[in-house]
């Protein structure tokens, strides 16, 4: 008997590791083929698979449980086969959808639905196997859930590590191998009939074949990579995969770099190479062997920072491929510090500058901008931000990505790193309708006013040219001499100065104008006391982003959508505000799928027989777990310096500690624990809501090992109790009414599915603290529903 338990536990562990790993793999594949916001759809599809498996189990449990060993092994093998085949099929030319084309071509809606279905199959098969084991040995649910969560946590970490060495197209094979080994282990300890032998052979052959036939992941034809690869003499120079995405570089005679260069320039624009992450361009690098730097950067607005004064030390945030480093070097900055979170880009930049005489004066930091600002106390004469809206999403594409380096708090931290006469420089691409520059002006104005300074002085100036506006902010006011130097600089290079003080001073005859004359009018309103009234009246969201709502590139409002549809028709919308719309579509899509695959079939076969209190309980804990997980990932994102590892560490700790909680739940006998456990979680969340940001802040400067200990304690405690409610309730059901377990599993799955995209949409509206409160309230609801039913 012990051998049987062990076989099931180990295979469940491996299957769970494969499932979570496959989720991460699909997220990376979709990030390359499409954009990262489509990747979040994978989480919902996976959970949908879990929900639907509950429905299938409710309908088929008699047959499945009768020959548990045989069906369990079969499901594991089928899930391994579909894991390797579904990415190959969905990546084929006749089935790969394009995010942009789904708005104008119904064929691509069909392709999207087919992709979702093909991704759904491996999850539903794997989840059916997991659900079967939970039902089959419901009396050991704590231990099984422990193996499931432990496997999930380990799977997340292992897959992230594999991403360093394995190309994305081969990652599904790694995930499938885990499932195959799990099946083999179960089979060897509990041999079944010859059908399984055949299936084993087939699975093995498919896995081997997939290694040879899996094609390279092709990015959308609308991605930078697809365009660049067609340029004359385009040559791929670097290809490296990592958890940060697939980095590729291209050189071509057609690639030139001179962004925002003055129109007075008559020099030839120098040739450059271009780097991409997941098919999106992230920066240029020089390919001219005689000139290692981009000399024309001296004719761009950013050069004003050095024109006003010699800057001995410069901090370059999010340095990308290091273009801003070139300017600092050309302007003789002696100590240059850079931050770049992507280690592959970081090492590429280092290698490009390695053979130059400049290398010794650059201090490269492989960390995120925000983590550096939080942890380092050095002050700098100049701090340069990357151009906002160029590579970081001018079109609302990244509306739902947290940009914690563009919040009010981030700019305040950056300002605190300036020397007394230091300057902060933020270039921003001019968009239309105006969004990014307006939000940036509002943010910087907020930062300045926060200093309690004399507002008649000038702390902010702008330099505008034909496609960019570059802002310069100081801790101390700009002197009259600096203002006149700015005007001279602008006159000589044909730029327009914008001087922000009590009233915005602009040239009456600007050199660079826009289609309407409202830009300066908006600027005036945003820097005046009237800005509170301006925000609700403007058709786009231009209120500054904060740490609680760190979505700088989310601009969409219903009024803005109407404006975009009127101005550019519906087909033009994806180019402007895709991110938010896709989250909304994903949510609706998932709810419709969830109802169709989970709730409706159960209703049809009359299997949705659980009591309202049990339904509420499983629904509430499903929503609450997902929401709490999301908030914790957000809270620890900056803390770990490295968002990818942060996600892996947090999910790992949370799942493993929840697994331990599940294991311990087996020893809990009292029925009251059903309502006490969620109440306790709600209480802990309440404490974390108040205290966690404070403790994170004071431990920010700790070394990594101490930070991990801190996370283990905080997340581990919460994760431990979060692991209790589900197995406790399943165990209770196994005593009271075992037949309803699959329905409870399906209910939990459905609400977990819906909670993921809903949480993203809610965080935009109410912020992460609001989301945390909703998580706590959901646990309270779970507690109350059981408490009222039992009493």
């Amino acid at each position: 008997m012990k051998k049987d338990y062990f076989a099931l536990d180990v295979s469940l562990f491996l299957l769970s590791a494969a499932v979570i790993g496959f989720q991460l793999t699909l997220m990376q594949i979709l990030s390359i083929q499409q954009w990262s916001h489509m990747a979040s759809m994978v989480i919902s599809i996976a959970l949908l698979g879990f929900g639907a498996s509950g429905t299938l189990l409710a309908i088929l449990k008699k047959y499945l449980l009768k020959q548990f060993d045989k069906y369990y092994t079969t499901l594991l093998l089928l899930s391994a086969i579909t894991m390797v085949l579904s990415p190959i099929l969905t990546g084929s030319s006749w089935l790969q959808f394009d995010t942009y084309l789904i708005f104008i071509n119904s064929g691509h809606i069909f392709r999207l639905i087919m992709t979702c279905l093909l991704y759904f199959i491996p999850f539903v098969l794997a989840a059916l196997a997991i659900g079967m084991s939970f039902t089959y040995q419901a009396d050991r649910i704590g231990r099984l859930y422990f193996a499931n969560l432990l496997g999930s946590g380990a799977g997340a970490i292992i897959t992230v590590l594999f991403m360093w060495k394995i190309m994305p197209q081969h990652l599904p094979l790694i995930n499938a191998s885990f499932t195959l080994v799990g099946a083999l282990f179960f089979y060897l300890l509990k041999p079944q009939n010859s059908t399984c032998k055949l299936l084993f052979t087939l699975t093995f052959c498919v896995c081997i074949m997939s290694f040879y036939i899996a094609p390279d992941i092709q990015p959308s034809e609308y991605k930078s990579w697809s365009k660049a690869i067609r340029l004359p003499q385009a040559k791929i120079q670097t290809v490296q995969n990592s958890p940060y995405g697939l980095v590729q570089t291209i050189s071509s005679s057609a690639i030139r770099y001179a962004p925002s260069v003055s129109l007075t320039n008559t020099e030839t624009i120098p040739q450059a190479g271009l780097a991409f992450v997941n098919g999106e361009s992230v920066g240029y690098f020089p390919t001219d062997s005689t000139n290692k730097l981009f000399p024309l950067l001296q004719c761009t607005p950013v050069a004003l920072a050095y024109q006003l004064k010699h800057r001995k030390s410069t901090l370059i945030l999010q340095s990308g491929m290091g273009e801003q480093i070139h300017l600092a070097l050309l302007k003789n900055s002696k100590q240059i510090t850079t931050t770049e979170v992507n280690p592959v880009l970081h090492s590429l930049t280092k290698s490009f500058l390695n053979n130059t005489k400049y290398n010794s004066q650059i201090l490269f930091n492989n960390s995120s901008a925000r983590s550096f600002l939080k942890q380092d106390s050095t002050t700098f004469d100049a701090i340069l931000f990357p151009a906002i809206g160029s590579f970081y999403g001018s079109s609302g594409l990244y509306a739902l990505q947290e940009q914690n380096w563009l919040t009010i708090e981030a700019f305040m931290e950056a300002r605190d790193h300036l020397t007394n006469d230091g300057i902060l420089c933020v270039p921003c691409w001019l968009d239309y309708p105006y969004r990014s520059p307006l939000k940036l002006i509002a943010t910087l104005d907020e930062v300045i006013k926060n200093q309690n300074i004399d507002t008649t002085e000038t702390y902010l100036i702008g330099v505008k040219n034909w496609n960019q506006i570059t802002f310069f902010m100081k801790r101390t006011p700009f002197s009259d001499e600096e203002i006149s130097q700015t005007t001279e600089f602008c006159d000589s290079l044909l730029f327009d100065p914008l001087i922000f003080n009590n009233s915005l001073l602009v040239d009456v005859n600007p050199i660079h104008t826009t289609a309407d004359t409202l830009f300066n009018h908006y600027n005036k309103q945003l820097t005046s006391a009237q800005k509170g009234k301006f925000y609700p009246t403007y058709p786009f969201r231009v209120k500054p982003a904060t740490d609680n709502k760190p979505y700088f590139f989310h601009f969409l409002k219903p009024a803005g959508l109407n404006k975009l549809i009127n101005d550019f028709n519906i087909a033009g919308i994806p180019y402007f505000e895709l991110g938010y719309l896709l989250a909304l579509i994903t949510f609706l899509f998932i709810v419709v799928f969830g109802v169709s695959f989970i709730i409706l079939p159960l209703k049809i076969v009359n299997q949705l027989k659980i009591k309202p209190s049990v339904f509420n309980y499983f629904a509430a804990i499903g929503i609450a777990y997902m929401i709490t997980e999301m908030v914790l990932i957000h809270q620890f994102n900056i803390y770990f310096d490295n968002p990818v590892y942060a996600v892996a560490i947090i999910i790992g700790i949370l799942l493993i500690s929840s697994g331990i909680g599940s294991y311990i739940s087996e020893k809990i006998r009292t029925k009251n624990s059903l309502w006490i456990a969620p109440l306790l979680i709600a209480f802990i969340i309440g404490i974390y809501l108040i205290c966690l940001p404070y403790f994170i802040n004071i431990t920010m400067a700790f070394t990594l090992s101490y930070k991990i200990i801190f996370s283990l304690v905080t997340i581990g405690c919460l994760g431990f109790v979060m692991g209790l409610p589900f197995p406790l309730a399943i165990k209770q059901l196994s005593i009271e009414n075992k037949d309803t377990i699959p329905s409870a599993w399906a209910t939990n799955g459905f609400f977990s599915v819906a909670a993921t995209p809903l949480a993203i949409l809610l965080s935009i509206e109410i912020g992460f603290s609001g989301l945390f409160i909703i998580g706590a309230c959901s646990y309270l609801l779970a507690s109350f529903s059981i408490f009222s039913a039992t009493s």
Binding site: A254, L263, Y432, H512
Partner: protein
């Protein structure tokens, strides 16, 4: 059986009659509706531009597989990663340079040759540079066939313009760049206009109107668009 035969006969007569009543240029109606529904309502009022858009047979400039959507409100792929721009954008750019009958215009990016044909209807001469030989040769043949003898096409790198025929009264660039090529500014007459899509070549760009004055160069940002990247050969 008898009735079936009569119905079939009536159907053939109706269909045949409908086919017979089609105009010789069956795309004329589509072209007219393109001007009336897509271009005119979007503030394109220049009579010469509207007349040219209503005259040039756009369907001849698109690949055979796309003829049915030639007059639709969107760009059409023409191969080699290039597109023929949306009709409105072609009209918008044409109107923006304020074309006059005596103008000499430089076009960078011949592509299908459609923009050159529109310009040739209005101005004295059009000098067009295309980097992709296959596209340039195809456009040259088509424009010759359509008797546009005031269009001159050169296969070369558009970055350098066409120095031998400079200065130009106006320049139209139909490929996106992160910069405005200095040689083009040099080849523009004082007082002349250049319209160019600028911005990141792979994302949303803006049409920028550049005006060369006596001592300064000014720009006016018009509207967001998406163009293929500006390519250089060497």
């Amino acid at each position: 059986m008898k009735y079936t035969f009569i119905i079939q006969l009536l159907w053939i007569i109706l269909v045949y009659g409908h086919v017979q009543s089609q105009p010789v240029d069956k795309f004329e109606k589509a072209r007219k509706s393109m001007v009336q529904d897509q271009i005119n309502p979007r503030d394109i009022t220049d009579k010469a531009t509207l007349a040219a858009m209503g005259k040039v047979p756009r369907h001849l400039f698109v690949p055979s597989g796309y003829v049915s959507i030639a007059y639709k409100d969107g760009p059409v792929p023409i191969g080699y990663g290039q597109t023929i721009s949306q009709p409105f954008i072609v009209a918008y750019m044409t109107q923006a340079i304020k074309p006059k009958p005596n103008y000499k215009v430089l076009e960078i990016g011949t592509g299908s040759g459609y923009q050159a044909a529109i310009l040739a209807e209005i101005v004295d001469s059009v000098f067009s540079v295309e980097i992709i030989p296959e596209l340039g040769d195809k456009a040259k043949k088509l424009l010759n066939k359509l008797d546009y003898d005031n269009v001159h096409i050169k296969i070369d790198d558009g970055y350098f313009g066409w120095k031998e025929h400079a200065p130009f009264d106006a320049i139209i660039v139909t490929a996106a760049a992160t910069y405005i090529p200095p040689p083009l500014i040099e080849q523009l007459k004082t007082g002349g206009y250049m319209i160019i899509p600028v911005g990141h070549p792979f994302q949303v760009q803006k049409l920028v109107m550049v005006q060369k004055k006596e001592k300064k160069i000014s720009t006016r940002t018009m509207l967001p668009v998406r163009f293929v990247p500006f390519t250089r050969s060497k």
